[in-house]
């Protein structure tokens, strides 16, 4: 019997299970199929810090949310239309986010009294009335999978492991996705384990066929491809985009990339990815600690490489002194902070934006650095190029503030043509740069470019330019050790002026104010771009007026920022911290900022921001 197909413009699916259930893999594969199908999409993986958290418990629940649509979307979505709950814990942990009327697919095999008691269900939610207002599909996912795999020479436990493929197959049927990509993926992954490969393929097909034959699902859904800009697309996560951006930046700069890194969640994927691209001259060094990682990057940069270190907040804390050295010796250096919940160990797998002030001020002395932030997973690519441009042009450490949400979230990316990327060619100093009064030529390591105030980058191996640098205060121009009070005052101001001067090279802040009549500006930075943008769309759809602007450059700010802030009656700044950008803005521009904050380890929801912004608008 052919089933009815219902057209939808967008769908939000959340897969949830134990951290060992393979929910992230399931989500990734569904995402890949969706990307290939041509929908616009946005994802939000949410998993515990433990590799295998205690089975069946609330803290052990791992989830993956995917939002896909036939139009351009900005966030992974607030509330799922479909929840796949692989056990009682997954149901309990996620039901609060699921709106009434949504579909819930539950794996009934896992709803044993023991498993339910473990998470505090006194009676089965599948049998009482608590899920009455939802469209519940109780399916024995585990036993159906085991049954489908009885031909294979597997233990029950091994067979049960393929239940995520069964559910993936079912969801692919339900939303009219292909499964060929997943088949290819499995064939590569299990090339050397034909039995496991066969079982996973069989489970995948069984799930698809189950959808086709069961009467539980009377309709299928279809979400047409989105009308995106022409081009070649791939799906990309923030960490991957950042890694590729760094490789591209080094190629465009014409200097090899040297990565010094120490494993830390959620930044380790950068180390993994960059370690795979040695053919591009990328040297990756896994150091003994965070300090050694940045030390090696500084040493390599001194030697003429593009020195990069990748970490998260606690790692930045350890690197602070070395970043100060980078400021003092004025060499290019890229510090990537994939922010996570803090302080201390905090929430390693959750997102936060609370390292802005650490990046800005977290060093001894007056130690200004440039700071930029990407606004979406794919934008991490462009941010890497921009960080490289600033670091190499201004001979300075640059902070790139990504976060856990950008790092692991993904979206379609219109792959750029390599030749269209900015030319970042670096030229080392190879000749003396100073003429003495008697006409003789000399090399002065701290004689500056009059325009950028950058000092020369003369690398070891260059004859005649041998010089010594260090963390001790240096005399202007000559770079000799200097304890002279006037000189120190001058050097502190010069270093600050150099960073301030970067503003001359960055575009003015653009404000999106379609009607030109908005009285309220919502200003964000980093990964809040998606939810802020989605909230603004909702407000405008209802006829509201709101202006939106988003900062790529956090230090220095774009030159017109003060003017922009002053031209609105009210400025609201949503941040996943306690108001760090707001503090900087108030301090620099003496403006009254409405700070709206959340530090839950999760990104803002569009609906929540919509409400907060509306409230500000109402009170203007």
């Amino acid at each position: 019997m052919a089933k009815e197909t219902v057209q939808l413009d967008r769908v939000i699916i959340r897969f949830a299970g134990d951290s060992g259930d393979g929910m992230q893999l399931t989500g990734d594969q569904f995402t890949s199929e969706t990307a290939r199908f041509g929908n616009d999409l946005s994802t939000l993986p949410d998993f515990p810090a433990e590799i295998r958290a205690p089975a069946g418990t609330l803290p052990g629940v791992s989830a993956f949310q995917l939002h896909f649509a036939d139009h351009d979307i900005m966030t992974p979505g607030d509330a799922p239309n479909v929840l796949v709950a692989m056990n009682p814990a997954a149901l309990k942990a996620n039901i609060g986010d699921v709106p009434r009327g949504a579909d819930i697919i539950v794996n009934t095999d896992e709803f044993t009294s023991r498993a339910m008691t473990k998470v505090g269900y006194e009676q089965s939610p599948l049998e009482d009335d608590s899920l009455e207002s939802y469209n519940v599909h109780p399916i024995a996912l585990t036993s159906l999978t085991v049954e489908a795999l009885k031909e294979f020479d597997l233990t029950k436990k091994e067979a049960e492991r393929s239940k995520n493929m069964f559910s993936l197959g079912l969801l692919c049927w339900l939303y009219d996705r292909n499964i060929e990509g997943t088949e290819t993926f499995l064939k590569e992954k299990f090339a050397k384990k034909p039995e496991i490969l066969g079982a996973n393929l069989a489970a995948l097909h069984a799930g698809w066929n189950y959808g086709e034959t069961t009467e539980d699902f009377s309709v299928r859904y279809e979400v047409k491809p989105a009308k995106l800009t022409h081009g070649k697309y791939r799906n990309i996560s923030g960490n991957l985009a950042l890694a590729l951006g760094l490789v591209a930046a080094s190629q465009r700069a014409g200097i090899p990339l040297y990565l010094g890194s120490y494993p830390i969640t959620p930044a380790s994927d950068l180390l993994h990815e960059l370690s795979r691209h040695k053919e591009f001259g990328v040297r990756s060094f896994q150091a003994e600690d965070e300090i050694a990682a940045i030390g090696a990057a500084i040493g390599a940069s001194y030697g003429g490489s593009l020195g990069v270190t990748t970490t998260s907040g606690p790692g930045v804390a350890l690197k602070s002194e070395a970043i100060g050295l980078g400021v003092a010796i004025e060499i290019p250096l890229i510090v990537i902070d994939v922010q996570r919940g803090g302080p201390s160990t905090g929430l390693p797998t959750k997102t936060e934006q609370a390292d802005l002030l650490q990046a800005m001020f977290g060093r001894n002395g007056e130690a200004p650095v440039a700071i930029i932030a990407p606004q979406s997973p794919a934008d991490c690519f462009d941010a890497a190029l921009e960080a490289t441009r600033i670091a190499t042009t201004y001979r300075t450490p640059v902070f790139l503030l990504s976060d856990g949400y950008l790092a692991n979230g993904s979206e379609p990316w219109n792959i750029p043509d390599v030749d269209s990327l900015p030319d970042l060619t670096v030229e080392f100093t190879t000749e003396p740069n100073w003429t003495n009064e008697d006409g003789s030529k000399e090399f002065m390591p701290f004689a500056r470019d009059p325009e950028t105030l950058a000092r020369p980058w003369a690398i070891p191996g260059t004859p005649g330019l041998e010089h010594r640098i260090g963390g001790i205060e240096k005399a202007d121009i000559t770079g000799h050790i200097s304890y002279n009070p006037e000189n120190h005052d001058k050097m502190v101001r010069l270093r600050q002026a150099k960073i301030d001067g970067i503003a001359d090279s960055i575009p003015n802040l653009k404000v999106d104010d379609p009607s030109g009549e908005a009285k309220v500006l919502v200003l964000g930075w980093g990964s809040t771009y998606g939810p802020i943008g989605a909230a603004c769309r909702r407000i405008r759809r209802e006829g509201g007026q709101i202006a939106q602007a988003h900062l790529r450059h956090l230090n220095p700010f774009p030159k017109n920022l003060g003017e922009v802030l002053a031209s609105y009656d009210k400025v609201i700044v949503p941040e996943m911290n306690l108001g760090q950008l707001a503090l900087l803005l108030r301090g620099k521009f003496l403006v009254d900022i409405e700070s709206y904050t959340q530090v839950s380890g999760m990104p803002f929801k569009a609906a929540q921001l919509e409400e907060a912004i509306k409230e500000v608008i109402a009170n203007v």
Binding site: R36, G281, S305, P463, R468
Partner: protein
């Protein structure tokens, strides 16, 4: 870019390069150590030794941490970086592994290398990065004006330990050997000839060479090595190791080194043992046991019976070489940036 990536392990200068002299390595900066500091003697020896490397000045780089000794780079005319406390090995590792055409030296002290930078030291050593580490050991914190260091003797009275230090000292060379060092040597600041020979051996070594230099701090720990320097005592106290020779010392050769009953080494009277029992020094033994036992001969407090010279020198591929091998193997793959950006799973809109 290819100049940096493709260059191989540092070789000598081009045959037509002008011959450098000690003068060519003296910078115009005023040397600011305390008068009488052992660092002067080391600086002078290094300046006179560097020309013999036959490496152009621009291809030599000295990296230091923080402390009196770490001012060293400013007094040379090579490239140099005076970095941050304890971290010189990390910076030098990045420089060395990205630039195999350079001869990279680390200058550090007992506080810098063994206290705040202990972690970096052991990891640089175990990796066998192409670095020559000169560890100036004066058994005291000099720049901070006289606190005990990780090599100070137990019970040492200093400003921070008025009732005596409670810390048991490190033997830096035992530590280095425990960290899988491939080259370990010791010398003394005032013995220019001996230091030069040790530096030459270190420079030739592929991988990390660690050279401990006993250095007198005449302000805060004067005469710390008097036993090993005083003409009246040094003959009986210093064990001057010579490759391939029986380990005999003393003004008349009256002391020697033999195996002890636990498999280690001990000092004996030459007259009381058979010639065959005297241990022959071999720095090239694959096992670290010999070199380690040598480091344990000296008294941790007084330095009574201290071996100097090259204790261990064995071949193991440097981190640089292994990294280069991987880079070379990887370079067989085409470096197609456009293909990298596209990945394997794309669609057209």
């Amino acid at each position: 870019m290819s100049d940096i990536v493709d260059s191989q392990i540092a070789e000598g200068a081009a045959p037509d390069a002008p011959k450098l002299t000690m003068k060519d390595f003296k910078s115009d900066q005023e040397v600011r150590w305390c008068p009488g500091c052992g660092d002067y003697a080391i600086l002078s020896t290094v300046q006179s030794f560097l020309p013999s490397l036959g490496i152009p000045r621009e291809n030599i780089c000295f990296v230091s941490g923080i402390g009196c000794s770490s001012r060293f780079p400013y007094y040379l005319t090579t490239y140099g970086m005076h970095s941050i406390h304890g971290r010189a090995p990390t910076i030098a590792t990045g420089l060395s592994t990205s630039r195999n055409d350079l001869s990279v030296w680390v200058v550090t002290g007992d506080g810098d290398a063994l206290s705040i930078g202990g972690n970096h030291l052991i990891h640089a050593i175990r990796r066998n990065v192409n670095l020559k580490i000169l560890l100036f050991n004066n058994r005291i914190y000099g720049l901070t004006k006289g606190q005990y260091s990780p090599t100070s003797e137990l019970g040492k009275i200093t400003k921070s330990t008025p009732m005596g230090s409670l810390d048991y000292p490190f033997n830096p060379l035992s530590l280095a050997l425990g960290a899988e060092a491939t080259f370990v040597a010791r010398t003394i600041d005032t013995d220019r000839k001996h230091m030069t020979s040790v530096l030459e051996a270190a420079a030739k070594h592929e991988g990390t060479a660690i050279v401990e230099i006993y250095q007198n701090c005449n302000i805060f720990n004067d005469n710390a090595f008097d036993l090993l320097k005083n003409p009246e005592t040094k003959g009986d106290e210093v064990i001057d190791l010579k490759q391939g020779e029986p380990i005999v010392f003393g003004t008349e050769g009256e002391h020697c080194v033999v195996r002890d009953e636990f498999g280690g080494l001990e000092v004996a009277k030459t007259a009381e043992v058979n010639q065959a029992e005297i241990v022959v020094h071999d720095a090239h033994l694959p096992t670290t046991a010999h070199a380690f036992s040598l480091t344990r001969l000296s008294d941790p407090e007084t330095l009574h019976h201290t071996p100097i010279g090259v204790l261990r020198s064995v071949e193991r591929p440097s981190y640089n070489r292994l990294m280069n091998d991987q880079m070379e193997r990887a370079s067989e793959k085409p470096a197609d940036l456009q293909a990298l950006l596209a990945g394997t799973d794309t669609w057209d809109v």
